[in-house]
């Protein structure tokens, strides 16, 4: 995969390949925290309408890859394009669900207030929230089954309910590409089903989904594509081709026992 085309991209020269068909294309991405690379020279090509899992051990740079793709953390090198356009001209096309634990849920806000925060692009810096924005936010809450909680203080929600509110906030962004960071971490089974149902519906509407995912046993149930990451890209492609015992061993090194991989029911190559 590291042919002359990607090398050209890394050099910062004009891209020879046409990235317009891809909702998200990352080329030669390197992100560094305090002099240590968290993500090193990673390429990622997300197929339209796919549902891609980003899988790898702790500290592999999974969240960092998402954050760099969204411009939240600065890139040391590399390019990020959305349908061939740079991030600054395509922010409206991408929605984000950060890790639930990344915010203080004791913040003085109601559920509806949080969903409305997903409309910052529509509203700009200065325009006030109007009735139509509230009604759209209520629609987004209804899609995740939380319309009855609109007036609830966010600190009173369970972990699963918080996750659904974050998903509703992402829906309010009205995007075609959804980047989710561990959307199933620490949530109840009902929430996991609800989130999967919403993501499936989004795909049916033509949206593309990328999620950082830590539960290896459900990768094949939920996702069509997978990116195996451990600072560098180990492998990328359709789940049935890429999600193999060999690739997992390469991704996790010695940390994943042969027995664990055996539990996944993968054919060793």
């Amino acid at each position: 995969m590291s042919g002359p085309l990607t090398l050209a991209a890394r050099d910062g020269r004009a891209l020879a390949e046409d990235l317009a068909p891809y909702p998200l294309a990352v080329r030669g991405l390197t992100v560094s925290y305090g002099g240590r690379p968290a993500v090193f020279s990673v390429d990622m090509t997300v197929e339209p309408g796919s549902m891609t899992a980003i899988v790898g051990p702790n500290g592999a740079g999974k969240s960092t890859l998402l954050k760099a793709a969204l411009g939240i953390v600065p890139r040391l090198a590399g390019t990020v394009t959305l349908h061939g356009r740079p991030l600054d001209r395509a922010r409206g096309e991408v929605a984000y669900v950060p890790q639930r634990a990344s915010v203080d849920w004791d913040f003085p806000a109601r559920v509806l207030d949080v969903v409305l925060m997903g409309m910052s692009r529509d509203l700009g810096l200065l325009r006030p929230v109007r009735a139509r924005h509230r009604s759209r936010a209520m629609d987004c809450l209804a899609r995740v089954g939380m319309e009855g909680f609109a007036a609830r203080q966010i600190g009173q929600l369970s972990g699963g309910q918080q996750q659904r509110v974050f998903l509703a906030r992402a829906l309010a962004q009205g995007a075609s590409l959804y980047l989710l960071d561990e959307p199933f971490a620490g949530v109840d089974a009902a929430t996991e089903r609800a989130v999967i149902a919403v993501l499936s519906a989004l795909r049916a509407e033509g949206a593309t989904v990328v999620a950082v995912h830590h539960d290896l046993s459900t990768v094949r149930d939920h996702f069509s594509h997978v990116l195996l990451l451990n600072v560098r890209r180990i492998a990328e492609g359709p789940v049935e081709r890429v999600f193999t015992a060999e690739n997992l061993q390469a991704t996790y090194g010695g940390r994943l026992g042969a027995a664990q991989i055996g539990d996944l029911g993968l054919a060793a190559s």
């Binding site: 991408v94 913040f107 003085p108 810096l125 200065l126």
Partner: protein, 304 residues
């Protein structure tokens, strides 16, 4: 409340209340961002800057003081970084060392320089000079309609009113993105909200409030004004808008009640002299926070 009240107490009370409101407004957001100590830091760091501004221009005017305070803040940031890296000290301790050292330098600078011609000395820097901001041109309530008397109002009143207005406008204008960036900075940034500029703007209006208030009420009370009313307000409600409204109410209450208690409290208790208004305002705001901790309707920690 006769003419004496208008001459001696009305203006100091107004200045105290405006200073408290100007500090409480950004204080709400600093508190929610877990940056409450920035208010503390600013109130300490600005002292050498204010003194330097005075020494260069020879006058107690807001603009040179603000510029001096801004320069002092930049020096502080550079020093913190230097202490942290060269001394291998954790950031919190590095900040503490730099702030107290710069404040001490400001105190020494004040003592060494001749500031006898203006209201600028060590006691003023610590406690302010609220009691001395009297309206000598007033003869009673009717003076509020008398242009000649109004022209004799202490200039501090205009300064703090302008600062409070500026702070209020910033918070009102950028309310929604400020709230969004305070709750979830990364998400806001992913949407293209200029979170770094908003955070810098917040610190800048906090500095504006600190400098304008410092001039009148000193550095001790400024810390209390940044933290106490918003912290008490947080315990009264679970809505951001109401929290800010409560903090403004608590700010005004502590300023007015503190000023009255300082002026008349000792007399009521059979004493002779008034006590420091700035100290009493800070004490009252602390008492309000204590009461909110014990009685506020939203003081329970929530589950996970």
């Amino acid at each position: 409340m006769g003419p004496d009240f208008v001459v001696l107490s009305l203006v100091p009370m107004l200045i105290g209340a405006l200073a408290a409101v100007a500090c409480a407004l950004p204080g709400n957001f600093l508190l929610l961002r877990r940056q409450a100590l920035i208010g503390d830091a600013i109130s300490h760091v600005v002292l050498p800057g204010i003194v330097a501004g005075f020494l260069v221009t020879g006058s107690v005017a807001t603009l040179p003081m603000l510029l001096g305070a801004g320069a002092a803040a930049l020096v502080a940031v550079a020093l913190i970084e230097a202490v942290r890296r060269l001394g291998r000290i954790e950031p919190g301790a590095a900040m503490g060392v730099v702030f107290t050292t710069m404040f001490a330098a400001g105190v020494l600078l004040l003592e060494l320089s001749d500031t006898s011609s203006v209201h600028l000395d060590v006691e003023h820097a610590l406690y302010g000079n609220l009691e001395s901001l009297v309206w000598l041109d007033a003869t009673g309530w009717q003076s509020l309609l008398d242009p000649a008397a109004l022209a004799g109002l202490p200039p501090e009143l205009g300064r703090i009113a302008a600062a409070a207005l500026g702070v209020g406008l910033f918070v009102r204008l950028f309310w929604r993105p400020l709230a969004a960036a305070t709750f979830d900075e990364h998400f806001a940034r992913a949407q293209g909200v200029p979170t770094a500029a908003l955070g810098l703007g917040l610190v800048m209006v906090a500095a504006l409030a600190a400098v304008a208030a410092f001039d009148a009420v000193g550095s001790i009370i400024v810390i209390a004004m940044f933290i106490c009313p918003p912290a008490a307000a947080r315990l009264m409600t679970d809505r951001l808008g109401r929290q800010v409204a409560w903090s403004v109410a608590f700010a005004v209450l502590s300023a007015v009640a503190g000023y009255i208690l300082a002026g008349y409290g000792p007399l009521w208790l059979g004493g002779q002299d008034a006590v420091s208004a700035a100290g009493m305002i800070a004490a009252v705001s602390g008492l309000i926070l204590a009461a909110a901790c014990l009685l506020g309707p939203h003081r329970r920690p929530r589950p996970g």
